[in-house]
Symmetry: C2
Subunit: 133 residues, 2 copies
DNA sequence: CTCTGTGCAAAGCGTTTGCAAACGA
DNA sequence: TCGTTTGCAAACGCTTTGCACAGAG
């Protein structure tokens, strides 16, 4: 379990119920779209504004303890930053799942066959999840 | 060199100068954003509409002989569909380059360590290109 | 000649911004 | 108390749509 309050404080963001709920939602569900988050928070707060979600998500991404994951043919999802990992997404139901694969070899190849300085590797597999099969 | 006219015809799209120019731009530059394409075509046509670019790009992606490439922290770029490959992008100047890396091993691992049916693999490396270093 | 595509203007949507009131520290 | 955050409404920018005219086949 993650210490949201401390994570927020460390990043000079005040601990508000809305922010805690955002972190809690991301931690519980792993990945959420913006309107997934909104639907989740509407139940907890009588009148939460979409603007609040945008502002907070932007601040959290800015401080880089939350990340946006861009998925082909789908809306972006957000997740709490954790150790490097890849993603699986279902083209049918849209669910997104983490998967950890060792990419050392692939990254090494990319480095030798290009003259880029490579800082980040972003890998997304698309297909059909077991539920939808 | 690609036979744009035939590609269009095969997909039941009429061959118009605008469409040929879009294909030509994508072929020449490899990857273009929507407004990159627009700026390119404004020079060739006295009055081309952004709506025309959107409609055509959407039709081409729909027919899947053009693809949208989603890049972390940047605008999407479009490219003509070709054999599976990965992408390199520069966080400084935004350029996008193709890179071909054998992903068999990685895909095999993903298949065994998940119960997904994996159809597509999307890999983007971010960093700094040689020009920007 | 017929049907599709283009360009324009308007509409639509997701996202951002400005501001007054509420809240956290 | 002081600076930050919230919620609302307005503004914004990107994308789509409807329609009349032009162009491809």
């Amino acid at each position: 379990m993650i210490d949201y309050k401390n994570l927020l404080k460390e990043n000079n963001l005040k601990v508000t119920p809305q922010r805690v709920a955002i972190m809690d939602g991301l931690d519980t569900y792993g990945h959420l779209t913006i309107d997934g988050l909104y639907k989740l928070l509407v139940d907890k707060f009588d009148s939460i504004s979409l603007a609040t979600i945008y502002k907070n998500l932007n601040a959290m991404v800015e401080k880089s303890f939350v990340e946006e994951v861009k998925i082909p043919n789908q809306k972006s999802v957000y997740e709490i930053s954790k150790a490097a990992h890849s993603h699986l997404t279902c083209n049918n139901c849209g669910m997104v799942e983490d998967i950890t694969i060792d990419l050392k070899t692939v990254i090494a190849k990319a480095k030798t066959s290009s003259d880029f300085q490579i800082d980040k590797t972003n890998l997304v597999f698309s297909g059909i999840c077991s539920n939808c099969k």
